[in-house]
Structures are given as structure tokens and as C-alpha cells.
């Protein structure tokens, strides 16, 4: 029983971070119907930003998270302008391949520079014990930041002019253009925010788990699963989906081997795609 509680708590904390990684993916999908296959490498770049800043410049990891966010925003806008802009109205295959080519470029250069050896940031914080459950400080802080980021995104999308532009373009791009919204700029900003959420997620993961340049791939696949659970294009659904996945990862090891987790995840993923393609909380098609 104690083991189950501890496992659940860990899974739940991780779930918040999965949630913001998936939010980045699902925001881009919702606004421009593009599945960003470069999501994983961008997450990995977030990890490395914090790692490099900490190791070589001694910048504290949580300041590094902030810088990683800025870096992610700029990177996303650049990727949009170079690779995505030209294929935004082309068939799906084109945008999938365009973002995948960005994936190959980042991974190719990243492996050449950093190799694939594992890295970690040696960060020790306090830890709290609640009965049988011990919560590590790094994980608690990371999930708190994830919640803050979610709140900030919500505020941005629903309370600011730029955010309303984004929602308008997501809703109907042609109509948004008719009322004078600069849609290309809005799309670039959305892609930037999507990438920013990915680098933040990566940066937070780097504060408590080891990683290498290929580590983003795992979280990209998890983001797909979460995005589909919560409904692609639905940022709040992504957070809930992240928590569900986190809980699942906490529960499954209590009754079978951990290696079965991905089997269950991906079977669930395919089934939800088939049965409820709009996500658990989405309406009927």
C-alpha cells in the first residue's frame, strides 16, 4: 500500500510536466493543424539549455528554465519561418515531413556536438515526508512551475489581445484575416509558444532526471498519447491527459513490470484514436 501511494505521488508530479509538454504539441495542432514532429528534439534542447548554463556558467537551474523558455520561443518562430510557413496549406504529408526534417537536423547536429552519453544536473533540494510518501523538492518545484505555466498560458489565451488573435486564427483563419488579424504573424507566435512549452518541459525534467540528446523522443511520444487523450487542440485537456498518464505510470508498476507501461500506453492511444478521436472530453465528431 505504501509503495502504491509513493508511486502514485511520483506519477502525479511527473504528470504535470508531461502536461505542459503535450500542451505545446496540441496548441500547434489546434492553431494550424500541423503535427510538430520536431517536438522531441526541442524538448531535448530545453534540457541542454539548462544543463549548459548550469555547468559552464553556474546559472541556477530555475533561472535556466526561464532562459530556456525565451530560447524556445525564438527557436519556434525561426522553425516556423523556415520550415513550416511554406507548407502550411499543403497536404498533411508535407508539414509532417517538414517538421521531421527539422527533427533530423537538430538531432544530427546535437549528436555531433554532445554525443549521446547521458547527462544530469546534480541538484539537491529539500524533501518532504508525508507518512509513507516522500516528495522530492525538485519534483515538487517542477510541478508547481508547470501549474504556473499552465495558468499563464490560460491567461494569455483568454485575457490578452494576442491570445485572442491566436484563438481566432485557430477557429477560422480566413475569417480572422478578413477582420484584419495578421494571421502569418499569429501562426509564427503560436509555433513559438508551442516550442516554448516544449523547452520548459524539457528544462524542468532536466532538474530531476538524467537525459541525453535523444531523450526528447520518449516525451514526444508521450505528448502524442496525452494530446489524443485530452483531445488534440485542447490545452486544458492536455494537462488532464498528462495527469492521467502520470497516474497510469504510477499505478501500472504496482501490479506488473514497468516494461509493460509503454505497451499499455500505446494500445490505449490507438484505441482512443479509434473510439474518441476528439479526446476523452471532446464532443462527438
Amino acid at each position: 500500500m505504501d509503495f502504491i501511494l509513493a508511486s502514485l505521488a511520483d506519477g502525479l508530479l511527473l504528470g504535470f510536466i508531461y502536461g505542459i509538454a503535450a500542451m505545446g504539441l496540441t496548441l500547434i495542432w489546434g492553431v494550424m493543424n500541423v503535427i510538430n514532429l520536431a517536438h522531441g528534439p526541442i524538448i531535448a534542447l530545453g534540457m541542454f539549455t539548462v544543463y549548459l548554463l548550469f555547468t559552464f556558467l553556474g546559472i541556477p537551474p530555475y533561472v535556466g528554465v526561464l532562459l530556456a523558455a525565451v530560447f524556445g520561443l525564438l527557436l519556434g518562430i525561426i522553425i516556423y519561418l523556415i520550415a513550416v510557413q511554406g507548407v502550411i496549406d499543403a497536404p498533411h504529408l508535407s508539414s509532417l515531413l517538414a517538421t521531421f526534417s527539422v527533427n533530423m537536423i537538430i538531432i544530427g547536429i546535437g549528436t555531433a556536438i554532445f554525443s549521446t552519453s547521458p547527462r544530469n544536473i546534480d541538484l539537491q533540494l529539500w524533501s518532504v515526508s508525508l507518512g509513507p510518501v516522500t516528495l522530492q523538492g525538485t519534483r515538487v518545484v517542477a510541478s508547481l512551475i508547470a501549474v504556473l505555466v499552465t495558468a499563464a498560458l490560460y491567461y494569455f489565451l483568454y485575457r490578452t489581445r494576442q491570445g485572442k488573435y491566436i484563438r481566432a486564427v485557430a477557429n477560422n483563419r480566413a475569417a480572422a484575416e478578413l477582420v484584419g488579424i495578421p494571421s502569418n504573424r499569429v501562426l509564427a507566435l503560436s509555433f513559438g509558444i508551442g516550442a516554448m512549452l516544449a523547452t520548459i518541459a524539457g528544462a524542468l525534467i532536466a532538474t530531476f532526471l538524467p537525459f541525453n540528446i535523444l531523450a526528447g523522443g520518449t516525451y514526444e511520444l508521450k505528448s502524442f498519447v496525452i494530446g489524443v487523450l485530452g483531445g488534440l487542440g485542447n490545452p486544458v485537456g492536455a494537462l488532464v491527459g498528462g495527469l492521467i498518464l502520470g497516474l497510469l505510470e504510477g499505478i501500472v508498476p504496482t501490479f506488473t513490470q514497468t516494461t509493460w507501461v509503454p505497451v499499455i500506453e500505446f494500445v490505449l492511444f490507438v484505441i482512443i484514436l479509434l473510439v474518441r478521436p476528439n479526446g476523452l472530453f471532446g464532443g462527438e465528431q
Binding site: H92, L96, I105, F224, P262, V263
Partner: protein, 323 residues
């Protein structure tokens, strides 16, 4: 003469395949035979994928699952059941076709990006499952006893034999690819690619046609999987289901020209050749992936129809030959 002209497209494609295979046959050089073996493997995979991707317009991001699954079943039959390579290859093709049939019934209902995502999910689910499946060796996979090669006249002969089997498979795939494209069934697929709803109105039974296209595109990868891992001597989950190779297959099809018979052949040969050069060059060795990625981006942005698609637009008179 007229019949020859009718088959000009098929002949061009077959001639290209044979030309690719000629060098190692005549020189007897084992190293160049290995290079051509990987090129032929790429041609089989790309041409098979093209039936689904190029003709039907459905993007499978996890097509390598058929290669890996067929390979695993074939390998299991040879090592654990003592079957011959022929039985293994047939079984590999059959189980892959069957898997495609069952999957097709389920996931081909999804369209566009949802289908692409589902295929990634299927590939990962199968890999994760085999990782846990003890009869197939779990995460460490299986290895082949060297004595298995004795019944084919020793390892050297077996190695040479696999090359010729691969050549035959490649020729069969090219013929299949051509027959599908020129048949009524193939026209139905092309109609689905252009507009699935309109195709249904015109009398194409889209769910059946899509499923059979999926099955046809899965059989040869399964056979090649059995052959490849027989030659390889070992099989493990990471080798059998690399998501990356799935996407490389798409790149090959795109590079040569999706929806054509000759395109995937040229695309596969060109991509493999380029990759070989990059991997062995001193400057590009470490960033060969980035160079391939850059090339892919250029194709997607500027030549979306691929080499053959571009050539067909440029020289309409030659369309009969460039199919």
C-alpha cells in the same frame, strides 16, 4: 511493337533495378554486393510503402512494423521450429499481410494526420509488446546458431544466396507496383487519394480498397524482414522496429516521386547511396543525419512532386516511359 510500348514504364523500372544489381554480379565483389543488398532492401520497402502512400494517399509513419514483425516471426520459425528460410519468408509475408488486414479494418477509418499518428502508435505498441514477449527473447532478442547456415552450403553461400533472393523480391515488388498502378483497382486507389468521398460516390468501395492496398504494401516488407534477419543472424526490438527507418522510407518515396513506379526505385537508390557517402566521408560523418534532414526540407519545400513527378511535368512526351 505496340505491346512493348504499353509496357515501356514497367521495362524502364526493371532495367533500372537490374542495372543496379549488375555490378556485384559481375565483379563478384562481396563488399559491393552488401551495398547493393541494402539498396535493394530500400527499394522493396519504398516501393511497398508507395502503394499506400503514393497511390492511396495515406501516410503510414510506422510502416517498418511489418518489416520487424515479419522478421521476428520468420526468425522464430527458423531458430525455434527448425523451419527452412523459404517457409520463414512465406510466413513472414503472410503474418505481416494478416496484421495489415486486421489493422487496416480498424485504423484506416482515420484520415490525414490522425492515421499517421495511429501508425506511430501501432509501431511503438508492437515494439513495446515484443520487448516483453519472452518466446521472442524479450529485450535481448534472439540469435541464430551458426549451424543453421550449413544446410544452405555454409555461411558464405547463404550470404550470396540472400542477395539473389533479394533481387528476385525486388523485381516482384516492381511488377506488383506496376500492375497495381495500371489496374482498375489501382485507379480506384488513385481516386481515393484525390478525393475519398467523391471516389465513393463514383462506386469505389473505399474501405475495402484501402485495406487491400495496406495488405499489399505490408507483404513484401514482411518477407524482406524474414530474409534480412536470417542474413543478420540476430534480431532485437530496436533493430526490428526503428521509427527512423519508417520515415526514411517516406523520404525515399518523396525524393523519387510518390505515386510513380520508377520514383521509389530511384529515390531509394539515391538516398541509400547518398547516406553511404555521407557516413564514410570525414567531414559529414557526424552530421549525416542533419544533412539528410536539410535535403528532405529542400525537397518538401521546393520539389514536392519528387524527381519523377518533376520530370513528368517537364517532359510530358516521356510520360509513357517515366511511370
Amino acid at each position: 511493337m505496340n505491346t512493348l510500348k504499353n509496357y515501356a514504364g514497367l521495362l524502364t523500372s526493371l532495367v533500372v533495378v537490374v542495372l543496379i544489381a549488375l555490378a556485384p554480379i559481375f565483379s563478384g565483389n562481396a563488399a559491393s554486393r552488401e551495398v547493393v543488398f541494402t539498396i535493394l532492401r530500400a527499394i522493396v520497402l519504398a516501393s511497398s510503402l508507395n502503394i499506400l502512400l503514393g497511390y492511396t494517399g495515406y501516410v503510414s509513419f510506422g510502416h517498418i512494423v511489418f518489416f520487424g514483425f515479419g522478421g521476428y516471426v520468420g526468425f522464430y520459425l527458423i531458430t525455434a521450429q527448425g523451419q527452412s528460410l523459404w517457409v520463414a519468408m512465406l510466413a513472414g509475408g503472410l503474418v505481416s499481410g494478416l496484421l495489415a488486414y486486421l489493422l487496416g479494418k480498424a485504423i484506416l477509418r482515420l484520415r490525414g494526420a490522425y492515421f499517421a499518428l495511429a501508425t506511430i502508435g501501432v509501431n511503438e505498441a508492437v515494439r513495446a509488446f515484443i520487448n516483453n514477449f519472452e518466446p521472442f527473447g524479450g529485450p535481448t532478442g534472439m540469435t541464430m546458431n551458426f549451424s543453421v547456415y550449413q544446410q544452405y552450403g555454409g555461411a558464405m553461400q547463404a550470404l550470396e544466396m540472400t542477395f539473389y533472393i533479394m533481387l528476385v523480391l525486388t523485381i516482384l515488388v516492381v511488377i506488383l507496383s506496376y500492375v497495381v498502378r495500371t489496374s482498375k483497382f489501382g485507379l480506384g486507389l488513385l481516386a481515393i487519394r484525390e478525393d475519398e468521398d467523391a471516389a465513393e460516390v463514383m462506386g469505389v468501395v473505399a474501405p475495402d480498397a484501402k485495406t487491400w492496398a495496406f495488405v499489399l504494401s505490408a507483404i513484401f516488407p514482411g518477407m524482406v524482414g524474414a530474409l534480412f534477419f536470417f542474413k543478420n543472424g540476430s534480431v532485437e526490438p530496436l533493430d526490428a522496429f526503428p521509427l527512423h527507418t519508417s520515415i526514411e522510407m517516406i523520404v525515399m518515396v518523396m525524393l523519387g516521386g510518390q505515386g510513380t513506379v520508377l520514383g521509389p526505385i530511384l529515390g531509394a537508390a539515391g538516398y541509400q547511396r547518398m547516406r553511404g557517402l555521407l557516413v564514410t566521408s570525414t567531414i559529414f560523418k557526424n552530421i549525416q543525419l542533419a544533412v539528410s534532414g536539410g535535403l528532405l526540407l529542400l525537397i518538401v519545400l521546393f520539389v514536392p512532386a519528387g524527381i519523377i513527378g518533376w520530370a513528368r511535368q517537364r517532359w510530358p512526351k516521356w510520360r509513357g516511359v517515366l511511370q
